[in-house]
């Protein structure tokens, strides 16, 4: 039994030794492991680019890493065992600690942290409780990120955003203002449009309700407007005619009459009469319409003169009748005075003769005045007929001169007649009327010549016309009266003073006669120096 025990003891001791060795070896290796782990942790702790700090459960700093030291310029030795509220505000520190102890994490919360330089730096805070292997809280970890740059950046960004916002706001305000302005403008435009519309309506109303007929032809001579009155004149019912030329309109007989007057091209016409039908006489005026020197078309104005014409006719008839009635007693006076003067009713003495002769001359003047009046009314009535016959104008002139010999001699006038050198030929005119014109012009020259004056009468033939002129060196026509020379009842103010004779109708009649022959009549005159009258007649 002993033997066995020894052996067993040795075996047991060996085994124990081995176990011991094994145990020791195991312990050594564990220790090594532990050391390695500690080193690893330390390296990692310092390597992390995050400021880290370990505090005990009362909030006193136990450990910080290098990043912490760098970031806040503190050495661990300087801050070891300092409470957290040394670095942070009481409130923030308390929050961090209590949260951690209650095992609640703080993630990315912005707080301020005191640096060694005394600055309070904005930091982003993370915190978490540290537990031991039994799960008990033994302290807390704090991770801090310096967010100064971020802050700066953020502030800058904020500032920028603010600026931009402000800018935007300003822009918005500006836009608002612009909008208001635009709205105002729009309103103004609208108002202006309304006004234009109103004006247009007004114009339209005026055109429509005008008592004159209006027609407007555009540049292509197409009818673009016709008012109610014009439609009534032409007895048409409306707008189908818009866009037609006058030629196309001429299917209607009344438009044809208008076309005959103003032509397809719409000549400028001023107050020409147009008898559209019985009891409707229109006075037609056609004028080009221009805006800013650009021709936009032609306007045709139709003025109803039926009533005026009727009154004028009545007036003319009245004058003609009165004139005719006046002639009868004047004839009696003429005849009686003539017989007395010719001593057919007994001898009279020289003084009686002189006075009777004055009476006779006055009566003659009266007869000639009435004759002129009749001529005027006839011209105005449009029935001054022109009886064209081949006429020897030279002979007519000569005969007129001869008929005035008495006055010529009385005033001791020198009268020269320059006849054309070419052989004389006859001209187709209304002989009686042309004689009246020539007589009137020569009679005027004599009447308004001074004693010993000179009258130069001349007749010239040209290729297509003849020109007659009478030049005197008499009293002339005052400058301010020249415009009125060819109007009815015109008498020069200086002429009236000198001569009571003269009806003021002669040149009015002369102008009508010459123009009816398609000739022209004019004069040149200087008061006190003399006058020259001219007329031309076309040779056909």
């Amino acid at each position: 039994m002993d033997l066995r025990t020894d052996k067993e003891n040795i075996e047991q001791n060996t085994r124990q030794s081995i176990e011991q060795a094994k145990k020791e070896k195991k312990e050594n290796s564990l220790f090594e492991h532990l050391e390695n782990l500690a080193e690893y942790t330390k390296n990692l702790w310092h390597f992390l680019p995050l400021a880290l700090c370990y505090l005990d459960s009362n909030g006193f700093i136990l450990e910080v890493n290098q990043t912490f030291e760098k970031t806040f310029s503190w050495k661990l030795s300087e801050i070891f065992n300092k409470p957290l509220n040394f670095f942070m505000s009481e409130k923030e520190a308390l929050k961090v600690i209590t949260q951690a102890l209650q095992e609640k994490e703080i993630i990315n919360e912005e707080m301020n942290f005191l640096t060694k330089k005394g600055e309070k730096v904005p930091v982003s805070v993370y915190s978490r409780a540290r537990k031991n292997n039994k799960g008990n809280v033994v302290g807390l970890f704090l991770a801090l990120t310096d967010i100064r740059e971020t802050k700066k950046f953020q502030d800058k960004l904020k500032q920028k955003i603010k600026e931009k916002t402000k800018e935007l706001e300003e822009k918005v305000i500006e836009l608002e203002k612009t909008k208001v302005v635009l709205l105002n403008i729009l309103e103004d435009v609208e108002e202006a449009r309304k006004k234009v519309e109103e004006e247009k309506n007004k114009t339209q109303a005026i055109i429509t309700n005008l008592t004159d007929g209006l027609m407007f032809f555009d540049q292509e001579k197409k009818l673009s407007l016709i008012n109610r009155q014009a439609e009534e004149f032409f007895e048409i019912k409306n707008q189908q005619l818009i866009g037609q030329t006058l030629l196309e309109l001429s299917k209607n007989f009344k438009f044809k009459l208008l076309r005959e007057l103003i032509g397809e091209e719409i000549d400028n016409v001023f107050r020409k009469e147009l008898k559209i039908k019985e009891n409707l006489i229109l006075e037609v005026t056609a004028i080009p319409l221009t805006t800013k020197k650009e021709k936009t078309g032609n306007l045709v104005i139709l003025h109803d003169v039926t009533r005026e014409k009727l009154i004028e006719k009545m007036k003319t008839e009245f004058v003609a009748l009165s004139a005719h009635q006046l002639r009868t007693p004047l004839s009696t006076i003429k005849w009686i005075l003539r017989m007395l003067l010719d001593e057919e009713l007994g001898k009279i003495n020289d003084q009686q003769k002189e006075f009777l002769n004055d009476g006779y001359q006055s009566n003659e003047r009266m007869i000639s005045l009435i004759n002129d009046l009749l001529n005027v009314t006839r011209i105005e009535e449009g029935r001054y007929v022109y009886n064209l016959t081949p006429t020897d104008i030279i002979g007519t002139i000569q005969s007129v001169i001869n008929s005035h010999q008495e006055e010529i001699k009385g005033k001791k006038l020198k009268v020269i007649f320059n006849k054309p050198k070419s052989k004389t030929f006859k001209v187709r005119v209304d002989a009686e009327k042309i004689r009246m014109v020539i007589d009137n012009i020569i009679d005027n020259a004599i009447k308004y010549s001074l004693l010993n004056g000179e009258i130069l009468i001349s007749l010239k033939y040209y290729k297509d016309k003849l020109k007659f002129s009478v030049k005197d060196n008499g009293i002339g026509i005052p400058q301010f009266q020249k415009e009125r020379v060819f109007t009815k009842f015109f008498r020069g103010i200086n002429a009236v003073k000198r001569e009571t004779d003269g009806t003021g109708l002669g040149l009015f009649i002369a102008k009508n006669i010459i123009e009816a022959h398609k000739g022209s009549i004019w004069f040149e005159s200087e008061e006190g120096k003399g006058t020259t009258f001219y007329f031309t007649l076309p040779l056909k």
Binding site: H324, R327, T328, L330, T332, E344, I367, V385
Partner: protein, 125 residues
């Protein structure tokens, strides 16, 4: 034998002057104061010449003239007629001459002496 002149004229003063002037030359005068009476006198008196006014009561001168000149009796239609009127328009003159008047005189433009000469001229034909 004195020639017989019929004066158809409604104005008594004109008529008086004419009668005086023409009778002084030895003509026999017959007077009528309107158209109807004038035409009757033409037919009854068969004058050598008629001095005819145009504006007349009852029947105007143109009508009288036409009735004389269109009378089927040659003794009547051949009687010369001088119109003596104050109607002086061409259309009147033309109408008068076309109806067969031998002359057309406007009263206010002619003296009694000139009228007498015209009468003598017509009677000479």
């Amino acid at each position: 034998m004195a020639k017989k002149v019929l004066i158809i004229e409604d104005d008594k003063f004109l008529r008086k002057v004419l009668v005086r002037k023409i009778s002084a030359e030895g003509y026999q005068i017959v007077e009528a104061t309107d158209g109807e009476k004038g035409l009757k006198s033409v037919e009854e008196e068969k004058p050598d010449l008629v001095l005819l006014d145009l504006v007349l009561p009852e029947m105007n001168g143109f009508e009288v003239l036409a009735k004389i000149k269109k009378n089927p009796n040659h003794m009547i239609s051949k009687i010369p007629v001088i119109v003596l009127s104050n109607l002086g328009e061409e259309k009147d003159i033309k109408k008068g001459l076309e109806l067969g008047a031998d002359d057309y005189l406007i009263k206010a433009y002619f003296t009694p002496g000139e009228i007498l000469k015209k009468i003598e001229n017509v009677l000479k034909k």
